[in-house]
Symmetry: C2
Subunit: 209 residues, 2 copies
């Protein structure tokens, strides 16, 4: 898809006039990011639409323990870089590419003009924010009230492609805010009980988790 | 303060025209709430400004364990009841009055009209949302990465009025997502070490926590 098509598609429900649509098509730009780039650290990008790849937003403790708070995949948008939001958000949120990614960036000045002019776009941004808030509530709930073994089960199910999870124990630990040792211990038990099988950097689901 | 004064004061930075300001003064209404009313459960109120009292927003597990995610005090505003936000928010967030409260409610239809007309009001709502998000990140971070004894210390300091905390162990446990037994055990240790003294439903700070 070319830029014009992506943008027309993304904004099709917002009744933008042709002039504003053209402005976006002129000013928006593609960016390719390699794996492991910290998006928020670099600069305030503007409004970001993910075209390919995956980003992981996480928080980190003083002792470098991490927990994933949301992920961004194809067609997801992110407004975390918007000034009005960003200045209120803790600096300890990290958004990192977990693989090679391509994004489309609408510069923040332009996006600010658009949301001031089109309340529907503002509604959309607010809904995005509410969705992230909701995801965070779910994670807090799980982290506090759900045993780690159950959370690990859910996580493996969600991450499996054709019953295969291509993540190391260390990576899983970072997603779940746990340590590699604890994750390895639970996975060993699951293997003993015949639920999964392990290869190098790969877990295969054998029975329903 | 009368309604006109409260409203003019609250919206003083938003350059509302006189007609819209009058609409708010006409349509906004006061509501007194007794202790322990669940605000979200009743109805979608609209935009709420807290005039007196205290509200506690919390999430609850299947096993009725709770953790406070933010509090609302005098002059705080809440947009959790706004349609556009509410429909995206998990139903397991509770907002409850912890004492007798008085609130001023701007009906949601009117508030929706205002934020569509005044982008600055929308910015304000988005900032509120970002603030709550930030608070939630901090709580998640603490709950996961900070020992409970440290969190309890911080909580007691924050809640003390003239070095006195008027909360039961049970109430403290609900704020921190812990159990009464665990809180009692830590408090007992703190008492032994001479940091606090306990009376009936009251904790007194003796030394710097």
């Amino acid at each position: 898809m070319d830029k014009k098509e992506i943008i027309s598609n993304f904004f099709k429900d917002y009744n933008l006039n042709q002039e504003n649509l053209n402005l976006i098509i002129q000013q928006a730009y593609f960016k390719k990011l390699p794996k492991d780039v910290n998006v928020l650290a670099d600069e305030c990008l503007g409004f970001v639409i993910v075209l390919s790849g995956n980003f992981r937003a996480f928080i980190m403790s003083n002792t470098a323990k991490e927990i994933t708070i949301f992920e961004l995949n194809k067609n997801d948008a992110c407004m975390m870089c918007q000034d009005c939001v960003f200045e209120k958000i803790a600096y300890n949120i990290f958004i990192q590419s977990t693989q090679e990614c391509e994004i489309l960036i609408i510069p923040k000045e332009l996006f600010t003009m658009l949301k001031d002019k089109y309340p529907k776009i503002y509604d959309y941004v607010l809904k995005l924010m509410a969705m992230r808030f909701n995801a965070l509530v779910n994670i807090l709930e799980q982290a506090l009230f759900t045993p780690l073994s159950v959370r690990l089960n859910e996580f493996l199910k969600a991450k499996a492609k054709n019953k295969i999870i291509s993540l190391s124990h260390e990576e899983i630990a970072l997603h779940l805010g746990s340590s590699r040792e604890v994750i390895s211990r639970i996975i060993k038990t699951m293997q003993k009980e015949g639920f999964i099988q392990q290869n190098r950097k790969e877990i295969i689901i054998l029975k329903d988790l």
